[in-house]
């Protein structure tokens, strides 16, 4: 069991090795080619810039993280409820689901300024944008998951005269969890994008705001500090969802292939 949980050790080791090698290559390239620090700072320069004002960066990071997590969590709750409604109600399927699928193809980031008009420049519009971006993959994957139940299983439930609630909670919902997690892995990255976009559009806090300020001052190295922090946090959030999946769905993890594990990234 434990061994099964850690089979991806090699994968993690590979990723770390590749990242470390890239950093070394980058550092060497910057020292040898000596580009203007305005264009490309070195990894060590970025690290030093972070250490100058770590608290400032971490405070902004904390804000972005909070927006992301609250937006993501609301998207999971709302998305699951919507998906259940869509699967059980022909009316919701033909209205809400059709609308969602249609809206999914427009670039939702472009809607961000609207949220500022509607909700002001506080935290709420940023959470709302994160939620909106995260909602689509969750609803769509959850609907898929709820519908993926083996028809024979449903026949068995009918023969045993199972109540609709029992079918939902004992069959459909657990059956949909792997699919929900696939959606959640996409959604967590989208939520982070949403939070940053929200901060780009109108904000005075968060790493998105930090990037804008540093850009205005041509302080390239501080832009890079924010980018690196975002990269680290984005990766950690993804693996947090992945870890939760392994913990909650050992049956699924035991069956899925490595390629699937990489899919959401």
């Amino acid at each position: 069991m434990l061994r099964r949980l850690f089979t991806s050790d090699n994968e993690v080791r590979d990723i770390i090795a590749v990242i470390l090698a890239s950093l070394v290559l980058w550092e060497v390239a910057v020292r040898v080619l000596a580009p203007s620090p305005l264009i490309l700072p070195s990894p060590s320069g970025i690290a030093l810039a972070f250490w100058e004002t770590p608290v400032v960066f971490l405070r902004h990071l904390g804000f972005t993280l909070l927006t992301t997590v609250v937006g993501f969590a609301s998207a999971v709750v709302l998305g699951v409820l919507l998906a259940v409604g869509i699967v059980y109600s022909r009316f919701l399927e033909r209205t809400v689901y059709t609308l969602l699928v249609a809206l999914n193809s427009i670039p939702k980031v472009a809607l961000a300024p609207l949220f500022v008009i509607w909700m002001g420049t506080g935290t709420e519009p940023k959470i709302a944008i994160a939620l909106m971006l995260a909602l689509f993959p969750i609803v769509i994957d959850m609907v898929l998951g709820l519908r993926s139940v083996d028809p024979d299983m449903l026949a068995l439930a009918r023969v045993s005269k199972a109540s609709p609630l029992a079918v939902l909670f004992k069959i459909r919902f657990p059956c949909a969890l792997p699919s929900l997690f696939a959606g959640m892995k996409v959604a967590i990255s989208f939520a982070l994008v949403g939070a940053i976009v929200g901060e780009f559009v109108a904000g005075s806090k968060g790493l998105g705001f930090q990037i804008l300020i540093a850009q205005g001052q041509f302080d390239t190295v501080r832009v890079f500090v924010s980018l690196v922090l975002l990269g680290v946090v984005g990766t950690l959030l993804f693996f947090l969802v992945d870890y939760a999946e392994r913990l909650l769905l050992p049956w699924h993890f035991s069956q899925r292939t490595r390629s699937e594990a990489v899919r959401g990234a």
Binding site: D152, M153, L156, K161, I171, W251
Partner: protein, 272 residues
């Protein structure tokens, strides 16, 4: 709820009222190119405690027939009665075993076996001991707390049979339950099914595409032809019971199998 006795109580004695009565049943599916008949004019009575197998080529509608008896689909023509009552949805005292075991991966074997009981709203605690005993009986003792994905295909199908038997149904429908298993596991399960039927005398409708399996298990073998699906013959199997693997080496057994195969060949349903 079904008491299994004749509804009027008039025809007890020599002629037993059938437990399942299929009378001139037809099933037609709508398709873009018009109605497609899947089953035509099927009539069959199954006595209480009788073991009936339905054999036929793929696409002859044998699974459709099972779904009709299970009350999962409605016939387009004719009437179906179980325990004397016309079918409206799945009858009481029914259990079904499918080709795929449809065990739930997140439940232990024991919890899977108890699933139908939970669905029926019966108390788990009351059936737990019986479930453990059934698993023991089917060679799954010690696997109660394992998960389906830790078991082989044969063990999984055994568990799904336990799930079906737990509520002690009157009528057991099995849709090619051993079709996905390897030959040796299949032999094992044939023996176990024959034994459990001998002990419990469930009314059993068994769908298969194996003539040998049908002859080995059944009191009567229903032969079906396809396009459209219809009953072409019903063969009574008068082999002594209880049957064992050795029964399959007897001349009578071999003759039954050959006779049914020839019959299918004569009708042009299978090629010889």
């Amino acid at each position: 709820m079904a008491d299994g006795t004749a509804p009027e109580g008039t025809d007890k004695g020599a002629i037993q009222a059938p437990y399942v009565s299929i009378s001139r049943v037809g099933k037609t599916y709508a398709s873009p190119r018009g109605a497609v008949p899947a089953l035509v004019d099927i009539s069959l009575d199954i006595a209480p405690g009788e073991f009936i197998s339905v054999v036929g080529p793929s696409g002859c509608g044998k699974s459709t027939l099972l779904k009709l008896v299970a009350g999962l689909e409605e016939p387009s023509a004719g009437t179906l009665k179980v325990a004397g009552r016309p079918l409206k949805g799945p009858p009481d005292n029914l259990a079904v075993v499918f080709q795929r075991d449809v065990l739930l991966d997140w439940r232990t074997i024991l919890d899977n076996v108890l699933l139908s009981i939970e669905f029926m709203g019966l108390p788990r605690a009351k059936y737990k001991d019986r479930a453990v005993a059934l698993l023991q009986r089917f060679g799954l003792g010690g696997f109660e707390h394992r998960f389906p994905w830790e078991l082989s295909g044969g063990m999984r199908q055994r568990a799904s049979i336990c799930r079906a038997l737990l509520s002690d149904p009157e009528l057991l429908l099995m849709d090619e339950p051993f079709g996905a298993l390897d030959a040796m596991t299949r032999d094992d399960l044939n023996i176990e099914l024959a034994r459990i039927w001998q002990e419990t005398r469930k009314t059993l409708l068994f769908i298969t595409h194996s003539i040998a399996e049908a002859v080995f298990l059944s009191d009567r073998v229903v032969m079906m032809g396809k396009a459209p699906g219809m009953v072409v013959d019903v063969i009574r199997i008068d082999l002594p019971r209880p049957r064992s693997l050795a029964s399959r080496e007897t001349a009578e057994f071999v003759e039954y199998v050959a006779r049914i195969r020839h019959h299918f060949a004569e009708l042009g349903i299978v090629k010889e």
